[in-house]
Symmetry: D2
Subunit: 366 residues, 4 copies
């Protein structure tokens, strides 16, 4: 029940602070015998890392991962896999002026109240930098799930600020800095340039999916698959809302339309988002999350300091004007951690001899 | 990590099926020395129980709770509190025709695929009836939190189908069958009567809050307070979406408006919903959930049976046309279980000597 | 991490007090599809229950178990199995005189100090009566393990007070009230009669084994199979020592003799007790435990009361003169709970397709 | 429930292999605000490290610990404390010849059977080297407990092979290589020299205690303090037996003598070893463990290889002739991890306002 470990059978313990010597994680429970090298992990880290376009923070971190344990002669041994990422670009001086102040919308205030002490360098433990080890652990989970079940995780941005982004094709996602599923992102570039010029930040909406998920994952009553997805997603920095399948649109649906009809060839729709009664149906998992605007902005804000005196806070330093931009690989990683946990749990309960159907019943979501 | 236990320090283990002899739960971790009787629990159970208006299922269950252990001479002893609720109105014959079929939108399909066996009587384990022990456990948590911190939990319906329900006052909630915070519910009555006549069901949106929550509850990195709230809410039957504070509205907000300004007298707004960086701010916790339309409807639906043959499913029996109506006390209970878990955890880490501030910084949500 | 739940994948939550209305447990994680009825459980409960000979407490409890949930049409469904045992013979008046006093060697003192309140009726929560639900849960675990792997659990008494009991044959165990593996127990009868007449109590040593245990169970580094066995055994009321294999005798052994030689046909000895590096070898698990003398005796003892005043304590009521006598089925049950937990965990990590060898390498222990 | 994490509220996750690049651990749950530096940890690591006398392995490891996170400006922040220990003396070539063979009494066999793969370099994950991070974590726990409650942990060797070591005084322990509580260790030196010359190894018996332990630590029914101590101790490499208080001697005791009499000034004896009903009494915790002879010896042993062919195994390399010699600081560390876990749990349940009595009732053990 430690607050820095995610999962039980595939347990990922995360450590580090934004500007300490290093960050990392320990993965406990990865099945033995899987080929694994740093290269298998680095790809997703590179998708998340800062400094890759003018629309994200200019902090320059290579985020090179090192495997410290758990792999022998290129294969996982079943023992803990420790992953280490050195912090190399630590301009702590940028943050000195906010050590005594609380940024509106930021964790400064609550860390101070909870612990009576906090590491202010770069947000310390509350920094989004700590999502890097999550992405690394997710890459390991993705690899195992893909080799075992053919499971594929994908994510994209579906809205940035007021700009709704239509879904054209997954193939566009890697070719623009927004993870947008569209060919032309000129409007998004212009939107972000204006926002940055205004010294402000904006929110975003991200969609993340998993295909080829085995039927039967998820534990009633409490550890439902969708409940754990909600837990994983809401735990990502800046997330304020989570939807599964039809989500909030289901409020205005009727039972005659929401319930996905089933035919011998599969489900006809996917309002369920791939989960019924907390258990996977074999359809695509469909998740959507809301990400709030970045709290660290150069526009002045009214706040207080540690002595409860009013102050005007201006956050300098290098921050993402929309933290949602880099959230896509993080959300994919967290979804993968949920799925592998339940895949292993399902094996515990039913073994591999129980029929594991790889998505026989499918329907497109949109 | 058992799927039927919620929480660790205040751990609630739920058991039973809709039409078995009894349902119940075991609460492990309730602090000793608190006065507790069945009457303290029965009130919330009565708010949730069926048969109280024509707008909910006509199944007649008194849901009378019995304390089997953990209380001696009217006080909790610190040992497990076992709560038992007998099932008295079990018309299993109503469900016989669906034992071999899968209702669209229902857990029939996934239970069958996961376990290879299921108890079809009244939905068995997947029945919303199993929320009764959650409500019972939540009542115990509420009582302790209220005595210790003055914490108050409240919930109301904010939308049913297409009908948005404005917030007038909390005082109206107990006086209508919808948990609506309005004086006049004639439009809701008419809406539900028409829906029932049409043999259909609809979704709903529920708001649940907690006031006088201590500052500092919640564990970074993963066991964030809002992440656990999302877990708890999405784990309630039929929930498809969860929002904290501004929720999905934060997508179109700017950093200059979303981040709640802080003054020496408190926060000026509550877009955060009472949580920053996963830790409580002392403001009201503000949660909103989307509940899908009931899957069990009398209108015919296309589906398959256990032999993958096409069938037309019609669900007779006694079902709620909007499961959202009775969801309010359930959501309150689950929120209480999250808060008590983190209140105890905070004591473990910081002890009672650490300053626990009861909501010094407050702002209205709406 | 609740203190009243044993195990994670096969999680048993125990509740109740000696003289409350009922005791019981909830088993969460039993694989679905196993035939199960009360009769499968009652046998082990009858082996443990009081009143069966003059050498144990004369309290008369039928310990009839009722399955409240988790079984449908005679098969486990994969959902929680709630087991209830009514308390029928509650002579609470016997205990009234000790409500304010602390029996030397008894949990009275520590419960009072920990909780500030305690249920004194029959020892309340600390009563050995709470081992009945453990035995019930263990019977379910035994059945699954036997059907899956052919695993067999056996136990016997090897010493009572100063009397060492030689091992003749397992077949004798059910035919005497001491679980002694000998044909003639006249000396044990005489020993116990004298002890009872003296108003005193004595300790005992119990041996418990498991045969046909799959190779590979147990998790390094901490959740070693032998570590969990030690946890399970030391958690049984009155146990003060635990040995695996050669146990304390290994202190005076040499490496050349302790390490069990391996041949293509199996191990030549079993000093390891079936565990190497925390993982099962496929040999018999061999465990030995020390049980202290019963604390509740009629001979007067020096103690204090809740006001720290000196008192002379005499415990009337109906107590076992040697709690070790009924400990054998309890120890078997706890060993079974450890083995099933690790068997399920091994499936999670390696699946059923990984070669599970049922004890290919065997050697007799003695 | 990951096998490489110890504890829940003070959770220590251990990683690494004997001859990988580094070993270490992550401590999650250390209360904030405690002064902590590497120097606070290095002392206990130096007590455990190899190469300090001719009676232990000659591997030369400085075991210098580095704090990677969780400490800011010399104080703990309440976030995870990652500790890293580089492996510097890795003569992997020493182990090449045993990669295909199973040493009798060693974990080679079971790791191979469980995982189908193992890191043979220096024993890989099963190496006693992995106790170094345990000792490091234990040092952090000891510091907090000492500052909070004045708790003191001590350990000593009480028997090596056939040589029983009388208890003279704790002050002797640091002044000889055996952790022996005696002034003159000439007989132990001679014993070990002869053993080493014979190419054999021997077992040992270690006593470990804690003084000034608060009353009331430990959770019935299963997470008893003594049960968790047994779990912690049996989880240490090579341990085959655990006793609390009188331990196996209680088998031959009477109730009239075993139960420690209580006076207004304290307990008169400590047969309980500081635990009654699974809860601490405030007396010293008294634990004794049996450690088996080292499995890696130069004398030839009969065994098999991975192809089930008979082989004669001779283990070269640098091994401890008695692993028990360096076990004392390890046992102390594990005891400290158990105590801090339960101290934090007790705070969760009762808060700091509940009276925490620091050992008001005391009695010497011997």
């Amino acid at each position: 029940m430690s607050g820095n470990t995610f999962g039980n059978l595939f347990a990922v313990t995360n450590f580090g602070e934004s500007h300490g010597p290093a960050i990392g994680c320990v993965i406990d429970g990865c099945p033995p015998g899987m080929a694994l090298s740093e290269a298998d992990i680095q790809g997703d880290l590179d998708r998340r890392r800062p400094g890759t376009s003018r629309h994200v923070t200019q902090r320059n971190e290579p985020d090179a991962v090192q495997i410290l344990s758990g792999v022998y002669e290129g294969k996982t041994t079943g023992t803990p896999i420790a992953l280490l990422i050195q912090n190399t670009d630590q301009r702590s001086k940028d943050y000195g002026n906010i050590a005594q102040q609380f940024r509106p919308g930021h964790a400064d205030f609550t860390y101070w109240k909870k612990y009576g002490i906090r590491d202010p360098r770069g947000g310390g433990r509350s920094s989004a930098r700590l999502t890097a080890p999550m992405v690394a652990a997710g890459a390991v989970a993705k690899k195992w799930l893909h080799e075992k079940y053919g499971t594929v995780f994908r994510g994209c941005m579906t809205q940035i600020g007021e700009v709704v982004i239509p879904f054209e094709d997954w193939s566009h996602v890697p070719h623009n800095p927004f993870f947008a599923p569209v060919a032309d992102v000129a409007n998004l570039e212009a939107y972000m340039d204006a926002l940055r010029k205004a010294g402000d930040s904006c929110g975003a909406r991200i969609r993340v999916t998993a295909s080829n998920v085995p039927v039967g994952l998820g534990e009633p009553l409490f550890d439902k698959l969708d409940a754990e997805i909600a837990f994983a997603m809401m735990g990502i920095n800046a997330v304020k809302g989570v939807e599964i399948g039809a989500g909030f649109a289901s409020v205005t649906q009727r039972g005659t339309t929401h319930g996905d009809s089933i035919t011998p060839n599969g489900f006809e729709t996917n309002n369920a988002g791939g989960v019924l009664g907390g258990i996977s149906t074999g359809q695509d998992l469909e998740v959507s999350i809301a990400i709030k605007p970045t709290s660290s902005i150069v526009s002045p804000r009214q706040s207080i300091d540690v002595n409860n005196q009013p102050v005007e806070v201006v956050t300098k330093g290098r921050h993402d004007p929309c933290v949602g931009i880099r959230a896509t690989p993080i959300a994919e990683a967290m979804l993968a951690l949920v799925v592998i946990e339940h895949a292993l749990r399902q094996r515990a309960q039913n073994g591999d001899t129980a029929p594991v159907e790889a998505a026989p019943l499918q329907a497109s979501f949109l």
